[in-house]
Symmetry: C2
Subunit: 140 residues, 2 copies
DNA sequence: TTAGGTGCAAACTTTTTGCCTCCGA
DNA sequence: TCGGAGGCAAAAAGTTTGCACCTAA
């Protein structure tokens, strides 16, 4: 049970529902999950929940800043909750994912805020480049 | 005409074609363009070129490290060429895109390389957060 | 002549929309 | 009873595949 979710929803004239709680729980539990994966998880508890509801609820929760999505690689987007504290390094070549501690971005976060007024979300960030295992392309 | 493209292709037993040149030109010219947008651009010169060819060619060029794609927001991915030297700040709230000079990432690039062996591609990077115009969410 | 490359159509996956019904304030 | 929510089906959007034909080495 998530009283704060109920409150947040109520403050905006929205209702708390079991589906919304279940989707939020699933995102928090799974981390980096696609909508389809989240749907499977929710349906373990409530098999009747439709994928449409998953999409609508993810949109809603994202609007409330409770969840977040990025495209870590090709294909479907990946949803996470604020709780997940990692920076992601995505290799554009092999698609590999490396997680590093968010402290690595403290300096950058401060600089972007001071200079551009941009509040970086360091806990959910994908940086793209080439990982250790992948060879350097020719001619560079 | 792009002799280096011809050479790169030839070295791998692949052929140079007008379509490949046109797609590369379109990516370089448009920057941040979706496959569909690139297709339109190519079709100005060669109306018969099919969207399938655009997808296949973008895949090919990406494999050659000549172009690059990210998902800047919802929906279709966005292709750019190496030539495009900007860092992108994407607001997760309004979807707005801010471009900042790549120099802002010099420190981070060096650190990631030294500590994790990860070669950041600073010329094509999307950092996600909240931009100046968008209000801070409640409760934070 | 042979393999690469393209166009075209169809299939497929992922996401969104419309509509009807249900339910709680 | 009124508007928010969800289920279901269909549509839309985005991407991939199969196949025939064409072309350059």
């Amino acid at each position: 049970m998530d009283t704060s979710l109920r409150r947040t929803l109520h403050d905006r004239g929205l209702r708390m529902t079991p589906q919304r709680q279940l989707v939020l729980d699933a995102v928090r539990e799974l981390q980096h999950a696609t909508p389809e994966r989240i749907c499977e998880q929710v349906q373990r508890v409530a098999p009747a929940v439709n994928i449409t509801t998953i999409y609508r609820t993810l949109d809603l929760l994202e609007g409330l800043d409770l969840v977040w999505h990025t495209h870590l690689g090709h294909g479907a987007p990946s949803y996470s909750s604020q709780a997940h504290e990692h920076v992601h390094l995505v290799c554009h070549r092999c698609g590999g994912l490396t997680e590093i501690p968010p402290e690595e971005l403290i300096d950058l976060t401060a600089r972007l805020r001071d200079r551009f007024g941009f509040v970086l979300n360091p806990s959910h960030l994908a940086l793209s480049g080439r990982c250790v295992q992948c060879p350097e392309p020719e001619g560079s």
